[in-house]
Assembly symmetry: C4
Homo-oligomer: 384 residues x 4
Amino acid sequence: MSDASAPGPAGLFTLADYAAGAQRVLDRDVWDFVAGGAGEERTLAANLEAFDRVRLRPRVLTGAGAPDTATRLLGRHWAAPVAVAPMAYHTLAHPAGEVATALAAGKAGVPLVVSTFAGRTFEDIAMAASAPLWLQVYCFRDRTTTRRLIERAEQAGFEALVLTVDAPLLGSRVRDLRNDFRLPQGVEPVNLTGTGFASPGRHARAEFDPMLDWSVIDWLRSVSTLPVILKGLLTGADARRASAAGVDGIVVSNHGGRQLDGAPATLEVLPEIAAAVAGACPVLLDGGIRRGADVLAALALGADAVLLGRPVLYGLAVDGEDGATQVLGIVADGLSEAMTLTGTAVVADAGAELLQPPATRCATPRAAGRPGFEDPDTSYWPHS
Amino acid sequence: MSDASAPGPAGLFTLADYAAGAQRVLDRDVWDFVAGGAGEERTLAANLEAFDRVRLRPRVLTGAGAPDTATRLLGRHWAAPVAVAPMAYHTLAHPAGEVATALAAGKAGVPLVVSTFAGRTFEDIAMAASAPLWLQVYCFRDRTTTRRLIERAEQAGFEALVLTVDAPLLGSRVRDLRNDFRLPQGVEPVNLTGTGFASPGRHARAEFDPMLDWSVIDWLRSVSTLPVILKGLLTGADARRASAAGVDGIVVSNHGGRQLDGAPATLEVLPEIAAAVAGACPVLLDGGIRRGADVLAALALGADAVLLGRPVLYGLAVDGEDGATQVLGIVADGLSEAMTLTGTAVVADAGAELLQPPATRCATPRAAGRPGFEDPDTSYWPHS
Amino acid sequence: MSDASAPGPAGLFTLADYAAGAQRVLDRDVWDFVAGGAGEERTLAANLEAFDRVRLRPRVLTGAGAPDTATRLLGRHWAAPVAVAPMAYHTLAHPAGEVATALAAGKAGVPLVVSTFAGRTFEDIAMAASAPLWLQVYCFRDRTTTRRLIERAEQAGFEALVLTVDAPLLGSRVRDLRNDFRLPQGVEPVNLTGTGFASPGRHARAEFDPMLDWSVIDWLRSVSTLPVILKGLLTGADARRASAAGVDGIVVSNHGGRQLDGAPATLEVLPEIAAAVAGACPVLLDGGIRRGADVLAALALGADAVLLGRPVLYGLAVDGEDGATQVLGIVADGLSEAMTLTGTAVVADAGAELLQPPATRCATPRAAGRPGFEDPDTSYWPHS
Amino acid sequence: MSDASAPGPAGLFTLADYAAGAQRVLDRDVWDFVAGGAGEERTLAANLEAFDRVRLRPRVLTGAGAPDTATRLLGRHWAAPVAVAPMAYHTLAHPAGEVATALAAGKAGVPLVVSTFAGRTFEDIAMAASAPLWLQVYCFRDRTTTRRLIERAEQAGFEALVLTVDAPLLGSRVRDLRNDFRLPQGVEPVNLTGTGFASPGRHARAEFDPMLDWSVIDWLRSVSTLPVILKGLLTGADARRASAAGVDGIVVSNHGGRQLDGAPATLEVLPEIAAAVAGACPVLLDGGIRRGADVLAALALGADAVLLGRPVLYGLAVDGEDGATQVLGIVADGLSEAMTLTGTAVVADAGAELLQPPATRCATPRAAGRPGFEDPDTSYWPHS
């Protein structure tokens, strides 16, 4: 992976640098489409703030040496517990689109989750990929379309299905309404061509199915042998239902703050969900990851891996494949640094004891003076 | 109802857009009279902030399909659990005043609560209305005036009385004092003409009765057979007294932050009041509703419906009846969207489990590690 | 008392208006001396913020009518539970100094606490006064000076001694250090003339006695028969010691944020102190009162009365005696309004149930679902 | 010590004044190197905010008189419980570098912890010193280098070793990356000359040893008889391990926010660590001390002394030895003032009862109404 001390072309050192760079090069309405969220963007902001509030507890003299950021998920090796989150139209950020992202993900050794609304064909993406590819799936009213997409991705070598379940309708994205946003010339959902879903210039408000229920999992099993991961869960109750339905993984997600404005930050609900799943399947999280230390925080609160979204597009916008590679490298390097400074030798060692409970700000008088108080009561964090 | 994607004349998408639009078209002192609150407007701000802090928990794969926002209150069908709050002088916002509002409310299928200080006659308003009309009542020292107003409204077809009980005097509205606010030419409390309460240009500081006690309810029963709703309750103790007095409904209200500056936000006291009433009568709430999701939050915390105030006047100011219709439509559409995304099929399904308790920010060590913690302990929200 | 709707000469409606007016008319260094606090003025700000956070719970239909703001303390009638706090050199704000303040306090029917560093003689002040006068006392190393001051005030008709106990040294007032503040020509501690303490132009850093202990109370008793009130207590432990020492009253005070920067807001420690005193003597509070509703909040949390400081000087600066009268009137009118809107008929009725506990922001899961929770658990506020 | 009322050359009264002064005279990149922290500087800010939030409880009439700020640590007299924290290259701030600092520390009667990356030789520093000198040690991969440094310092009369354990690698300092920071001509780690670690112009990213474990303490014992203090602990668990390993002291530190961004504020973890150590060895703290009252707060929460870092360099930058002397004087004077106003006669008297728990902001209903509540439940602060 890249070394943060060997920055990209324009002296960019942080994911915020790449965001600022992307904002400079992208058309305003495209920037808004990528960067924006639903409503007043409260959930978008909450995702970030939840990580900002985390306090990681350094541990010293562990003798751990350089940490190993690698992990295994669904039987595959990941160089870091990070994948690229599904996002529509990488071609908005760079003409090479998902092909560039796949090359970058391959260099980083991490999976790419390809959106149903990808701007490049599954086949082109697969050709470029050297790390696992997963397919993000919307289950349309017209199941035939969905089934054909799955079959095509499966044939192209995709390894898992990520069913988005938080979009019975599309959230109200006020920036896009104000901009009357339409897809630029040449940006299209190329994998939907000929299906009736490909809009001629507007972002396809595809025929999402608001009647979807848990039986969709059985249907997916009936059309594909790929592992099925549910994306968009925010409650322990739903996570238990997913677990009972035998899914192969779940993604704690509020759709990057793009669906229900006012939904909780993903990090805030992660402990509840991790406790509900209780190890029955991998738990991933997206929303708000902007530093390597954020990955460690998510692991400590119960995630097995995270998905990184917008920053990867910002990297693409700034410098194509190299930019996306840099962005993934900054996150991996930061994770390695945070693991080193917290004495976390391997990913599996990240636990709740890494986190400082927000006790000082809100302790009650009776929280103290009890046996065992000297150490923060890590049972506070359900994932322990 | 309107579709948020088919905006009004000026590309207005949110209630904030309508507020900004109204501020542009209204005279400064009229804007201040409508938008302002008592004192330093701490309660005005608190009403909004309470909703800003709410976190709604999405639920997925419920198979609910498109939600039904309709409800029944006092034996009548409401297209949504929303009514127009009583406000003086809609004619300040638009010459058509309450007549335009009544037409808009009718289109939206929701009731209008007409103020004693309405700028149009009860009869004109009733003529335009197709949804229920309620009369907001101040009980003056001169009860004859109050009785005559009630009788007149009853004859015009009004269906309920909403007695304002939080105004033994008028709160100190500093903006109006600074502006030396006087009603513009042509704006008058036309239903008070000839009663001695109609001031010739100043907002009538009518002869409120500071001696009012709970016997006023019996008096109202003695002069009218209409249902009696008390507006302006902020404590469980008062709600229990109201319930014991047999009222037909209560409105949790701090008068939109216009009476006691420093009073709690209505949403903050709603759980306490809902628990005190315990279903004995409908509980409504006003103050701070600025999004459809806010309606759902109020329902989840125990309200049966909400009243929407200033934003309706802003709609009137911007575009008369159409503007008011748009505003009501934005709220109803937002409610529908929030219900869809939280898997809430019907209004009656909204419960405390929809809300994310503010646990992460303030949890105590002992809140965790206990059986059942995986799911947020919704008993936190008394209305469960 | 004045009516807030009949404002002073410049359309001033709030205490903030008078502060702004005073800042305009006073020399910068005088303004800084009056308005400033110790260190970074964290305690100064905390005093205000504590009141800003208070939420008062309106009560309705109590039939209370117009409230009575009067109270009795140390055997005397006060028109409102408010006195003028001891402050040095009212002559900094207006040439008439404490004489003007005494006239204003007399009109308002409230006591004036005269500072040892008054700019006018005790005799001149007493001549103008029609409400009780108290003497603020610093116990100097040279007790003879202190004794003579007390004797002189007693002869002039002063009714109580207020011993300042929070000043074993003077706090570091950074604004004054930066300004190299010196008293303007003509502003002097006239009651200290000839004692060796009267500085010729600098604010007298009098010879405070850092060795002072609880025996000072016995010494005061030995030199005067006047009631002794201790000012500057911030802990329950000290309040209990004061109570055990038989003082006639205590003032919860952090010296208006002018001594230890970082000391708690007075309102925050009031419940603890009221509980410690348990009615053994009156408890007064100063620091941060800027509205009539603040007085009610202090009463609800256990104060018997409050002292109003800087705003009275601001009134003096803006309009002499009339300005000070206006300021006291705004506070009394605001108290009356707040009492009316909370259904508080008399001062003695103000109790903890008037306050909304900060539950929503910090509730723990277990705070709910228990019997009696419907009403806020007012036992939270120790003074109940 | 200096008297805060006799300020330095430019009317500087607070440590913030010295920071502003230093920013004016230092080159931008040098300022950034000194003032900056790791990542987004969240931990840097948290250190300061933790002290800003402290509320100290004044006590009155204790008869304590002028306090004694002196203490004893490792068998030596300290004029105040403050030492100069180890910082690299004082020569960045002033050509006299650590020699000037040693002279200032001597005047103040407090120890100086000399960095391995000092800009002046240990011998020159020792020549100037009149108060204890401690050596800050990085344990390099090449232990010979480390051993030689220790031996040299020991010969020069240094009295203790402070092993930095929070730097298995150097944290990512974004400001320095952006500035491409290099040491100015003439600023060098002169005590590393000839060791292979002395970089010719860049800040030496020395060969830190990421494999370090608790056996390093035995190794230090094997090469030196000096007391061994561990610096960089942030958890009770590590403090217990250190205590079990028989260290002579620990420093609660996050490296001034320069290592893991997102680590807790030192003051927040101090109670946990003090409880874990339970008096087995002295506990020191650095990070965020910017006032004398902050020293008292740290003592009250369990520290035996604090280290003062950047402000000393700011003093050096502004006025060389005199500036550093002023800075140490401001802190000592402020400590004395805070001790006087809280009735703390000697350093050993500082305990948890000096601190106002953050109860009002976060109290739960059940925190009140219980026996003993009148006084804040100081058991909240584990160090009691």
